[in-house]
């Protein structure tokens, strides 16, 4: 919590709110308590108040119930990560209290439900404790039958009071959220919220005032990474998809199933992963770019079909919301360990495109880019997200949908002749003609996974196989030339370049900022296009003495992770080294800082 008047808040005089520029609140309870919705309300409020917000949640892998947390970081400046430590911890149960105190910042504040939590002596002196009988006060406010329901809104009211939040806006959000469920539900929700807000105690009344955000962040939308991918696909004109349930991908599937019919499309829940990818490919063949997706194990199952799409040169978008692996692994935790399968999953030489989204807003735009690349290059495109981005909520500037949205019409206009695997262009690009297209010379295409000649006929000819392998590879080289060169943040040459991909971006930027403030000279770069790598990336890496690839996967036998492996193979540069984490938790800013410092010390000692 960056306070400008810290002393005022701590000297017992709470009549005047202290001004803060950002705050991290962690809500710890059980999954059925609806603590996610408190976070959701706060995130939306931030979006409507020109503030930046980032949230983080954990979902228990138990089927019902189980401990769950939601962390929300609100700021008037740039918010790049969900925060390492919480400034305020809301503990609803003893286990929430016991297990999350160590995530509280040094001068943090602990608000606990005194109906359920017995504070520990040794922590009472360490952290400021505020006990409020949240459960019984909620029952008092909305009636005894509600049991635990409504506690979340009561807590939201308390938060509103503590941080002098705009209650009119919050009430409007509650109305919108519950409006469709009937008057009595809205009234109950509102009663719970208002009782929380009116809870009278000097301890919590108007403690803080969160500074207003910058004016340039106007008109924000608030959503999770999975939602952003789903809506990005729709904006890009995707009208067909197929999938199979698996965490944390399922949200995207549910969203597309619900939303696509509005646009004349369908999303089909299939009997398995193989059917899903096959249906999506079938739709692509029919002329509508198909999408499928999954997480870890499901991606493994799809690989044969993806190889077919590479060989047959059919557009396809594959979303992989990565989780901890291998095998069933850590289904509800984060890891960036599917890069290798995205790049190489499949037999034979099967070049495909791999993109990685770095935050919620980027999920939206990268999904659009994935679809456009698939269409133009007739190739499977992997979009890698991960559990951390999938479930976290951010506010971002509303996209200009009028210019972005594509109405893609099926083109079945007759052609004089057609070669589905035309080699003449040299750039590797060719386009299919969907069934229903009349080919006037009467020579119709067969699309196939057998090696084939230009018209799709099977061919085992060596010269042909060389030419076709080159074609499938060349189109990626063509794409590489069109890709933007990644931006280097900080000096564009120097001692250390930290390279990240995917959800590592925010913490990495924050770490570099802090290290720079401490007097270190270093830069960072984020790679979104992993296959192909943008042409001229090779000019950047040699400008730094050391290049560390920061990723959430194992350093492996040789001490570097999956992206580092790609870069070392590509640039034959042994200065590329890994900073890896396999805890199945997101990178904390402080961890990156510690690891970078330790690495620098090691290298200085060795030098």
């Amino acid at each position: 919590m960056s306070e400008t008047t810290v002393s005022e808040a701590n000297n017992g005089s709470h009549s005047q709110a202290s001004n803060i520029s950002e705050v991290t609140i962690r809500l710890a309870g059980n999954s059925q308590d609806g603590i996610q919705s408190i976070g959701g309300f706060l995130a939306r409020l931030a979006g409507r108040s020109e503030r930046e917000v980032m949230t983080m949640m954990t979902i228990p892998s138990t089927i019902s119930g189980g401990a769950s947390i939601f962390q929300v970081r609100l700021g008037s400046g740039e918010v790049l990560s969900p925060g390492d430590k919480a400034d305020v911890l809301f503990a609803f149960y003893q286990h929430s209290y016991d297990n999350h105190v160590n995530n509280l910042a040094k001068d943090g504040m602990l608000v606990y439900d005194s109906d359920h939590v017995e504070p520990h002596e040794e922590w009472l002196t360490k952290y400021r404790h505020i006990g409020i009988p949240i459960s019984s006060l909620t029952v008092e406010a909305i009636g005894g039958t509600a049991r635990d329901k409504g506690k979340n809104l009561y807590a939201l009211g308390l938060i509103g009071r503590m941080f002098s939040l705009d209650t009119a806006k919050l009430e409007r959000l509650i109305n919108e959220r519950f409006g469709g469920k009937g008057e009595s539900i809205v009234k109950t929700a509102m009663d719970a919220f208002q009782s929380g807000y009116r809870y009278h105690s000097d301890d919590i009344s108007n403690l803080f005032r969160l500074a207003q955000g910058g004016a340039e962040r106007s008109n924000q939308v608030v959503m999770s990474g999975n939602e952003a991918i789903g809506y990005g696909l729709i904006a890009a004109g995707v009208r067909f998809g197929a999938g199979y349930p698996i965490t944390p991908w399922s949200d995207i599937m549910e969203l597309l199933r619900r939303e696509l019919p509005k646009y004349g499309g369908s999303f089909i829940q299939c009997e398995d992963e193989i059917a899903s990818v096959s249906m999506a490919i079938g739709a692509s063949y029919g002329g509508h770019v198909g999408v499928t997706g999954s997480s870890g194990p499901g991606i493994s199952l799809k690989t044969e079909a993806i190889g077919w799409a590479v060989m047959a040169e059919i557009p396809l978008v594959v979303i992989d919301v990565q989780r901890g692996g291998p095998s069933t692994g850590l289904p509800t935790d984060v890891e960036q360990s599917d890069l290798n399968i995205a790049l190489y999953g499949g037999h034979g030489d099967s070049p495909r495109v791999v993109l990685a989204a770095s935050d919620v807003e980027d999920c939206f735009y990268t999904a659009i880019e994935a679809v456009n690349i698939a269409r133009k290059y007739s190739v499977p495109v992997f979009l890698l997200s991960d559990q951390a981005i999938a479930t976290r909520i951010e506010a971002f500037n509303e996209p200009d949908l009028k210019t972005i949205c594509k109405d893609v019409e099926l083109d079945l206009s007759p052609v004089a002749s057609h070669k589905p695997y035309d080699l003449s262009s040299g750039d590797g690009l060719s386009q299919h003609r969907a069934p229903g297209t009349r080919i006037e010379d009467g020579r119709y295409p067969v699309v196939t996974g057998l090696e084939h000649d230009e018209s799709g006929h099977p061919s085992g000819d060596a010269v042909n196989h060389i030419a076709m392998t080159k074609k499938r590879r060349n189109k990626l080289k063509t794409l590489a030339d069109e890709l933007p060169v990644p931006e280097v943040c900080g000096p564009d040459s120097g001692d250390v370049l930290l390279v990240g991909w995917g959800s590592t971006k925010g913490p990495l930027l924050e770490a570099v900022e802090q290290l720079t403030n401490e007097g270190y000279t270093l830069s960072s770069m984020h790679i979104k296009h992993i296959n192909p790598l943008p042409t001229s990336l090779e000019d950047i890496l040699p400008r730094f003495k050391s290049v560390y690839i920061v990723e959430m996967n194992d350093g492996g036998v040789y001490g570097y992770g999956q992206l580092a492996g790609v870069l070392r193979a590509r640039y034959a540069d042994s200065r590329i080294k890994g900073i890896n984490k396999t805890a199945a938790r997101r990178w904390k800013v402080s961890e990156i800082i510690e690891r970078v410092k330790a690495r620098l010390e090691e290298e200085t000692a060795a030098a």
Partner: protein, 305 residues
């Protein structure tokens, strides 16, 4: 995508266009062995296309992997040679996203009932509109004589030198119990009956499944002789009083000893997945009264502020 036109609706210039000729619809020389039953299925497919005057550009043939799955190469039309066992899933994606086409899928017994067994069951129960012809030869031919899921007990293959002993799948029973809405059986030796079944399958609004006995002369010669009158067997049609909507009766007939019956075992009308999805689309779009997609998405985004 919500266009519910059928492939039989002629294009605007249809009056000027002649039905496709056999020469126009014939492509590569089939790579099948001499005497293979699949030749007969191919020539009946040509006949069906001509007889039903399917516009050339709308003929869409999908197959998986196996001898019979080479089929699309031999048809001069839009065609797909997909991966082993998944042709039905591919064809489902095509059928559901392109309701203007009637998709024909061809495959063998390994493709349909072994590696693709799961997809067979689910495509049947979902009633995805298409015609699926399984050319059943009771053996893996392309990989040269291994036991197939329909190999009869006692069949000596390279993987069962002593004779197969696993219970074979009964395709009729499987299809009926999976929820298929059109289940028929025919043989390559009776082209007239084969065409009749193909036409009935094409006219069926839903997933229409035909098991066509198709002899592998190389690895299981004579397998179907006792269903072929020319070889001293009997081509036994369904009883005249059989009611194809009677599931129990269809199932009982499917249980008769080999060579069993030929004809339509089971046929009912049930909403296709295509129609059900289209009605979801219609209901969803109704609310937006033809607004452009960007405005529909904008309305959603407005609720996320």
């Amino acid at each position: 995508m919500s266009d519910s036109a059928t492939m039989e609706r002629p294009p605007q210039d249809a009056e000027e266009r002649q039905p496709v000729t056999k020469k126009e619809i014939t492509a590569d020389n089939p790579t099948w062995c001499p005497g293979c039953g699949d030749f007969s299925v191919l020539s009946i497919y040509y006949k069906l296309i001509q007889k039903r005057n399917i516009p050339h550009e709308n003929v869409t043939t999908v197959a998986g992997i196996g001898c019979s799955s080479r089929f699309p190469y031999f048809v001069q039309a839009h065609g797909v040679h997909y991966i082993h066992g998944r042709a039905l899933s591919f064809a489902s994606g095509l059928s559901l996203s392109r309701p203007d086409l009637h998709v024909f899928t061809f495959g063998g017994d390994g493709d349909a009932f072994s590696i693709g067994g799961n997809h067979f069951v689910h495509t049947a129960r979902k009633n995805v509109k298409m015609t699926y012809v399984v050319m059943d030869n009771f053996v893996y031919g392309l990989t040269k004589k291994q036991t197939s899921p329909t190999s009869p007990i006692g069949f000596k293959s390279k993987t069962d030198n002593w004779g197969a002993f696993d219970q074979p799948i009964n395709p009729m029973k499987l299809a009926i119990s999976a929820g298929a809405t059109f289940v028929a059986r025919t043989s390559h030796t009776n082209p007239k009956h084969l065409l009749e079944m193909m036409e009935a399958a094409m006219d069926h609004d839903g997933f229409s499944f035909i098991e066509c006995l198709s002899e592998c002369t190389e690895f299981f010669a004579g397998a179907f002789d006792n269903s072929n009158p020319r070889k001293g067997g009997e081509f036994k049609l369904m009883p005249e009083d059989h009611d194809p909507t009677d599931e129990a009766s269809a199932y009982a007939l499917a249980g008769e000893d080999f060579p069993g019956r030929f004809g339509i075992f089971y046929q009912i009308q049930r909403s296709t997945k295509n129609a059900l999805e289209a009605s979801v689309i219609e209901a969803a779009q109704d609310k937006f009264q033809g607004k452009p997609d960007s405005e529909v998405l904008q309305a959603t985004f407005n609720r996320m502020k």
